[in-house]
């Protein structure tokens, strides 16, 4: 007779081996989260109705002025003598404003009202260091104040996601090996990082039994031993589950073969598998275009647009397009004036994208004033924390003030 596998990877597998719900409760501290959660509720409760946020980081500082382009503005052409795009090249959007032509794959989303842009987003006293500026966006801190937690980490801290054991399901899933600081909470919150190694690390047979033995913590043991045991158990179970979901996924759209699009494909797979996870994080890097920007920027925007389009298309075909909001952010825009290397240096405010079927598409907020003295950069007209407040209150259903440490007026894209 084969012994039952000691680390079950599915609910069915666990139950098949004769464990009964009532008996499990006594040990629920060490149970895989999905089992403890469903046992407590009496029945599995798919989280079908939950709204989901997908955060897309454009790392390096995306050039806002050449993303949402004021092609009729004389100042724009003065500031960008070689990099400016002409009205004949851009995808017209509103009077005097158009999108970079590489964003063409997003045109159908714009037409359907499923894509919005919030213009000229930033914060007072902008910082031009990648590290610090990114940290400001991640932590939602004032520019002269350091915080140790990310805005979504504080969202996790401020909400419980449902049942008493739901907090052991990943609250956030990120693509990449390191926890994005945006998801860093003040206390341990389950998160999970998807890396290419997923699915190749399973434990089998006797080694698995040994691992299981070592995960059993005695109740009188130090609290951190119990914490480690259940975090490890959850990580093992989540890894197997996520690996299986990703390998079995059949998308309803053609995702390009690049890493960014494949990460979004993974996000779609996990959303459609009805994990209780409500926050996903994906990153696209390379936007730090100090020299010979034109070709690089076009390539990046094209990668971005194709991936986003495939993702939204996939969700729509599978009837999930209305419960997923995708939002971009970048640590800063580029300087208004191009530099002498046909590139742009670190600047200030920039537009960001919001995508989904449940939002008001088109332009939001006000464009930057480009009538600037030499060397100056646009001053933001929308504080990024107003965008966060919108997402927290109107999408994730969480009061924004405790998360953001102050009152910020939500915007009308939701």
């Amino acid at each position: 007779m084969n012994a039952p596998p000691v680390l079950p990877s599915t609910r069915r597998e666990f139950l098949r081996h004769g464990l009964r719900g009532a008996g499990l409760l006594a040990f629920s501290r060490h149970l895989p989260w999905f089992l403890a959660a469903s046992t407590l509720r009496g029945a599995p409760r798919p989280e079908k109705d939950r709204s989901v946020l997908v955060l897309v980081q454009l790392a390096g500082g995306n050039d806002g002025l050449n993303t949402l382009i004021p092609f009729d503005n004389d100042h724009y052409h003065r500031l960008r003598p070689t990099l400016a795009l002409r009205s004949s090249e851009v995808l017209p959007l509103a009077d005097g404003l158009g999108l970079h032509p590489a964003l063409a794959p997003l045109q159908p989303l714009l037409d359907a009202g499923h894509l919005g842009l919030v213009q000229n987003v930033g914060y007072p006293n902008p910082n031009r260091s990648h590290f610090r500026a990114m940290e400001i966006w991640e932590t939602a801190a004032e520019s002269d104040h350091a915080l140790s937690t990310g805005w979504l980490g504080r969202y996790f801290d401020n909400t419980c996601s449902g049942g008493p054991h739901d907090e052991r399901a990943p609250r956030g899933i990120h693509f990449g090996a390191e926890l994005p600081p945006s998801l860093q909470a003040s206390r341990p919150q389950a998160t999970f990082g998807v890396t290419p190694a997923i699915g190749r690390r399973g434990l089998r047979g006797p080694e698995r039994r040994l691992a299981k033995n070592l995960l059993e913590a005695h109740p009188a043991a130090p609290a951190n031993l119990g914490f480690l045991s259940h975090t490890m158990m959850d990580a093992l179970v989540t890894e197997e589950r996520v690996g299986r979901i990703l390998s079995r996924y059949r998308p309803d759209a053609d995702y390009p073969a690049n890493r960014f699009a494949q990460a979004l494909r993974g996000v779609a797979a996990l959303i459609l598998a009805d994990l209780p996870t409500r926050v996903y994080f994906v990153s696209l890097g390379g936007f730090d275009t100090h020299s010979n920007q034109a070709a690089t920027h076009a390539r990046l925007l094209s990668t971005f647009a194709a991936g986003m389009h495939a993702f939204q298309h996939d969700l729509r075909r599978q009837k999930a397009g209305d419960r997923v909001l995708t939002m971009t952010f970048s640590e800063f825009g580029r300087r208004a004036a191009e530099n002498h290397s046909a590139g742009t240096d670190h600047g200030t405010a920039a537009p960001l994208f919001v995508m989904g079927e449940s939002l008001r598409g088109g332009l939001h907020g006000h464009p930057p004033d480009l009538d600037l003295p030499p060397g100056a950069d646009p001053v933001h007209s929308t504080d990024f924390r107003c965008v966060y407040a919108t997402v927290l209150e109107r999408w994730l259903g969480c009061p924004a003030t405790p998360v953001l440490g102050g009152a910020f007026t939500p915007l009308d894209f939701l």
């Binding site: 940290e135 002269d144 140790s148 080694e207 040994l210 031993l225 914490f227 480690l228």
Partner: protein, 500 residues
């Protein structure tokens, strides 16, 4: 089964020295796991033999300066070139950009070499406790690569901590206020008499000396004026008298034309100054949950009476009854650096002489060397642990058990390894032969020995039997050796091994 630990001693006697009869192998093991990175039997025996006071004094002896990396010289040269180029006119933008790129690369190389040279230094058990303690100070008196940019200045800052790490804490704070890395990191370099920058003054009170809410905004403004004129020239501090605001300032109830040092002295007269460093010490080395206030006050008052000498605080703390209380054993989570250097020491390996052998792992585990998330440093404790950092800990262990580490090295790495081997043996990973010497022993005995040797706590009941079943299924030979290696890996990836 572990019984519930006895209650804590009362605050008045908690910090008294542990009675000599309580200084045993168990307490010595606890001390070594906490102060250093590993507790090998030979070190436990030595500590028991020498006694607690002697052991603590030996552990916290200042360690020598780690080797200065060769690449610092190259970086120095390049900086001079960049300066010269900035002065010279007529350099093309392309040439300027190339030079900047070269400078960036030289900085990266220098920082990697600095990191590796420190890891090698700290991996030597003679230096481990002091270097671990200096790293703790560096997580209070924080500077980071992102704000400082120049690893030579970070190295200098580290040296300032190493030199002042046992002296009076006010003196260390004064030295740090002159640290060229700190001048950059908290903007004193850019603070002007007409427009004092408050960044340093605020963190001095909030993070270095007093704690949040123990000072007013007015005091920050006044202190910022006192620190105007602090500048660096290259790697050295200098006082720019013309930029210093020598006018009258009022803070903490005193008025005078205070300079920076006097502001630090005034801050140390505040009652809160007695508590900040001791509370950080408790959190880092004793318990993630704060001790009740009377314990902290008792320790802080004793320390203040010793003129805030850090050495006195360390001796008091690590010799105390409460530090050695059984309830504290194996209760803290190892930092990534502790985990890495602990593995190196426990497995008798050497720090790989190329970045890929350690630095990417430290980054993925959440503690890249001298790259804290911000001025508050790493929070640590349970926040070291999430699914991603656990996966990184596993990758590191996998790497240290690779059977063919040298097959995957690139030319640079192979050359670095050759160069290192001319200085002495370099063992990168645990080979299958490592276990051959004791493979013949009964599985249960092997499992118990490995667990006792490696873990700060007893493994779960039934572990030895489960391990024996796993091992004894395989006959002597390569398969048994393979399983021994798997068993060792399982122990290193167990929750218990993540604790200290």
């Amino acid at each position: 089964m572990p019984a519930s630990p006895p209650p804590l001693p009362p605050p008045r006697t908690a910090w008294e020295p542990l009675p000599p009869e309580a200084w045993t192998a168990a307490t010595a093991r606890h001390l070594l796991h906490r102060t250093g990175y590993a507790a090998p039997p030979s070190q436990i025996e030595r500590a028991v033999r020498e006694g607690l006071a002697t052991t603590v004094a030996r552990l916290f002896r200042p360690s020598p300066t780690p080797e200065r990396p060769d690449s610092f010289g190259r970086l120095d040269d390049l900086r001079a070139e960049v300066l010269a180029a900035a002065r010279a006119h007529g350099m093309s933008p392309e040439a300027r950009r190339d030079l900047q790129r070269e400078l960036r690369q030289a900085r990266n190389t220098a920082h990697q070499d600095f990191s590796l040279s420190w890891l090698r230094h700290a991996a030597d058990p003679k230096h481990s406790a002091y270097e671990k303690f200096i790293l703790f100070l560096a997580n209070i008196l924080v500077v980071g690569l992102d704000g400082v940019r120049d690893p030579i200045l970070l190295h200098r800052h580290h040296q300032i901590l190493r030199e002042g790490g046992l002296g009076p804490y006010p003196d260390l704070c004064k030295a740090v206020s002159r640290s060229p890395a700190m001048l950059e990191y908290l903007d004193l370099q850019r603070s002007r008499r007409e427009n004092p920058n408050e960044n340093f003054a605020r963190e001095l009170f909030e993070l270095f000396i007093l704690g949040e809410g123990r000072y007013s905004e007015e005091e920050v403004r006044e202190a910022a004026r006192a620190f105007t004129g602090y500048r660096r020239r290259g790697e050295d501090f200098f006082f720019a008298r013309g930029q210093h605001d020598s006018g009258s300032k009022t803070l903490f109830g005193h008025t005078g034309s205070f300079d920076g040092d006097q502001v630090i002295d005034l801050a140390f007269q505040q009652p809160a100054a007695r508590l900040l460093l001791p509370s950080r010490l408790i959190r880092e080395f004793l318990s993630e949950d704060p001790l009740p206030a009377p314990y902290l006050e008792e320790l802080g008052n004793h320390w203040a009476a010793q003129d805030f000498r850090i050495e006195a605080l360390l001796h008091r703390f690590f010799s105390s009854r409460i530090f050695h209380h059984p309830g504290h054993r194996g209760a803290l989570i190892k930092s990534p650096i502790h985990f890495y250097l602990g593995l190196i020491q426990d497995l008798h390996l050497q720090v790989a002489p190329f970045p890929r052998g350690s630095l990417p792992f430290l980054r993925q585990m959440g503690q890249p060397f001298f790259e804290p998330p911000n001025v508050r440093g790493w929070v640590g404790g349970r926040l070291w642990i999430n699914a991603s950092t656990l996966a990184a800990r596993r990758s590191l262990v996998d790497f240290l058990f690779r059977e063919d580490p040298e097959a995957v090295l690139n030319a640079d790495e192979a050359a670095a390894l050759d160069a290192a081997r001319r200085q002495g043996p370099v063992l990168l990973t645990v080979g299958p032969q490592r276990f051959a010497t004791f493979a013949e022993l009964p599985g249960e005995m092997i499992a118990t020995r490995l667990a006792t040797r490696l873990l700060p706590l007893d493994p779960p009941a039934g572990f030895a039997a489960a391990a024996a079943a796993f091992l004894d299924q395989a006959p002597a030979g390569p398969e048994r050796n393979r399983r021994l290696a798997l068993l060792a890996r399982r122990i290193l990836l167990s929750p218990h091994y993540q604790l200290c």
